[in-house]
Point group: C2
Chain length 409, copies 2
Amino acid sequence: MRDPRRITGVYAIESADPARSAAGFAGEQSSGTFTAVPGETDELRERFGAEVVELVETGEGLPSLPSRLAPATVRSARVAVEFPMENVGTDIATLLAAVAGNLFELGDLTACRLDELALPAEFVAAHAGPAYGVAGTRRSLDQPDGALIGTIVKPNIGLGEDEFRGVVRDLARAAIDLIKDDELLTDPAYLPLATRVRIATEEIRDAEQITGHPTMYAFNIAGDLAGLRARHDTVVAAGGRAVMLPIPLMGLPALEWLRTFAEVPIHGHRAGLAAQMRHPGLGVDYTVWQQLARLAGADHLHVGGLGSKFSETDDEVATNIRALQAPLGATTPVLPTLSSGQNVRTPAPTWQAVGSTDLLMLAGGGIIGHPQGSAAGVHSLRAAWDAAVGGEPLSDLAERDDAVAKALA
Amino acid sequence: MRDPRRITGVYAIESADPARSAAGFAGEQSSGTFTAVPGETDELRERFGAEVVELVETGEGLPSLPSRLAPATVRSARVAVEFPMENVGTDIATLLAAVAGNLFELGDLTACRLDELALPAEFVAAHAGPAYGVAGTRRSLDQPDGALIGTIVKPNIGLGEDEFRGVVRDLARAAIDLIKDDELLTDPAYLPLATRVRIATEEIRDAEQITGHPTMYAFNIAGDLAGLRARHDTVVAAGGRAVMLPIPLMGLPALEWLRTFAEVPIHGHRAGLAAQMRHPGLGVDYTVWQQLARLAGADHLHVGGLGSKFSETDDEVATNIRALQAPLGATTPVLPTLSSGQNVRTPAPTWQAVGSTDLLMLAGGGIIGHPQGSAAGVHSLRAAWDAAVGGEPLSDLAERDDAVAKALA
C-alpha cells in the first residue's frame, strides 16, 4: 500500500526533454533503474516509486551546466516530485540521498536545483530542533528583547594569548552580547581551543562584574569528530555559553550528533555552503538547507547580511531570514545571524525587510574600530536598532547620539 | 617567523579586477579583514597571511555566477594562493575552512573554483589514509589481480526479506567480487540494516561453500552519527567484509572518524558531490576532493564511469581515476570504483584510458539482467576485462565466449 506521507521536492531543471528527464530522475532517486530488472514489480514501484506530480515548462535556452550529452539547447522546467516517506524514514542523511544525492550529476539534466522541500509532520517531529534558539539565547544573555549585537575576534587568526585576552576583555567590557571565533580558527598550536576557552571565560566573568551584562562566546569546535565531545565539554566545564560549528564543513550529521549532548547553544556557521548553493541551477537552495540545519539542532544560523561583501543580494538575504522565521513544526525558533559589512546603517533596511529584532548582528569594524572604543561601537549599533524600530532616521539619531555620529563618520 | 610549510590552492576565478580580488580573498581566508583593526600587525600578517604567488589572466567575458555586485563583464584568472600550514594544522575541516570555505560567496568573485591543492608532506603524513585500499580488498577477496566486478542490489529499494535474500544468493553464487547497497537504502523499517546484514552474510557464506569465492558486501551505514559505530559493529560481528559511506552526505569528518574504528574496508560513495562540483566555476574539483577522501580513509572511491549516464565525459572520468592512481604520501592506494552504464563494452576504453585493472567495476543490468543468469554476467565482464588487457577485440571474444556474445546482444 502506498505510504500517504510524502516528501515533496520542487526542482528547477533543464533538459532536452524535461518530462522524460523528470520521470527518469524520480525513478533514479527511488525504486527505478535504467534497465528493467527482475523483482521490480508493479507493486514495488507503486509503493516505493517517487512520482512527478507537477511539471511546468518555464523556457528554453543554452545549457547551464556541462554534460557528456551536451544538448545544443534545453528546455527549463519547474518540477514537483513526491517521495514516499517510507523510503527515507526520518534520517537526515537518507533524506539527502533521496532529494539531493546522485541526481545532480545526471547527464540528461543541465540544471538541477532543489528549490523547495516540504517534509511530512512526522519527519519534522522526529527531530529535536534547536534546544535554545532565540529564547534560550536571550535567557542566557539576560536580554529579553532587541536585536543582539555580536562580533568576531579580530585579527581572526594569529593572535597570541595576551593579545587575545586583550581583545576579549575590550569586547566583554563593552557589554557586547556575543563574541565568536572566526571559522578559520579551530585549535592551532599557537592558541589552542582550551587556552582560548580559559582566557575568554575568565575575561567575560570579570567583565560581568563591571558591566552586569553576560556575554556569550561561541567557540569554534570544528575538528575531528572523535574529539568533538571533548571540545564541547571543555567549553562547558569552563562556563562557556556557546559552541560554534561550521555546518557545511562538518556535515549535517555532525550537527545533529552535537545536538544530542550539547549543553549550550550551537552557533551554526555556513562556511562552504555557497559551493553547493551559489549557482541558481545547481545544488540546494538556502530555504531548503535551513530546514535541515534547524531540525538537526542549530540554535543560531548564518544568513549572510544586508549590505554585505557576499554575493547574495539584500532581497536574497531577507528571503533567507524569512525562511528562518517560518514555523517548522513545533521546533523552537532559531536565531538568524547577520554578518559581513554590518554597521549602524544596516539595522534600518534589515528591520524594513524582516520586521523583527530576533536577530544577531555581527559587526566588525563598527565595534572594534569605533573611534570612541568598542563600548561606543556596541552602543551605536543598539541605538541604531532602536531608531530603526522606532522609525527615526539615522541622521536624527546622530544629532542626539555622539557615538552614532562618530560611527557614521 | 614565516612557516616554511605551505598549503597551495590553485583557483579559477572571475572578477572585475582579478589581482585585487585575489589579494582580497587571500586576506579573507587568512589574517585579513576589510577594515584594518588594531592588532593586525605587519608581523602577524607576515606570519599568518595567505599570499597570492601566481596570477595569470585567462580571458574576459560575462559573469558565470550571480552577485550583488553584478559586473557587466569580468576577467578570468588562474590564481595560486599559499596558506601557511600553521593556520590550519593538520585538521581536514580546518583545511576546508581555509581553502574551500567562505570564499565561494565573496561578491566580487563571479567564479571561484578550487582546481588544485598541494598539501605539505607533514599534513599528508598526519592522516592514516586507507587501511585496506586495493591490496586489502584483494586480500579479503582472495583475488590478487584483475579488475574487480561488483553490482548494486536491484531493485535498489523496496525489497522484502525474501526477495533480498534471493538477489544476494543469486549474486553470491555468481562468484561476484562485491555487492553493495544503493545509497538510498540505509535502515528502513521494511528491511532494516541488521536484517540485511544477517541475510547477506548468511547467503555469502553459503555461496562460498559452493563457489570457493569470497564476496564482499558493502553495507550502507549512513545515518545518525550516534549510531554509526553500532551499525559498523553489526556488520563486523556478522562477518561482513565492508561498510559503505556516502561521504558528501555524511561529511569528511564522519569518514575520518569511521576510519578510526573500522575493521573492514570503507566503500566511499560520492552521492551529492556534484552539487559542489559540477559547475566549472564553483566549488571544488574532484582531483582536490579525492585527496581529502583518501586522507580521511576511504578504501574505495566512486569516480563515475566511462560511458555512464552521469554528466562527466569519459575524459573527465579518466582524469578522476588517474587522480586516484597518483601517489599521496605513503598512503595505501585506493580502489577506484566505476559505476553507471558499465557493461562488457566498457572495459576496453577504460583500460585504454587508465592502463590498470586496480579498479572495481559496478555493473547492473549486465549481471542481473544477463539472459544466461548472473554467473554468466559476471563471467562476461571478467572475460571482457581479460580481452581488453590482452588487446583482443570484443567481437573476437564473443565468437569464442557465448556469455559475452549474449551480453553484447
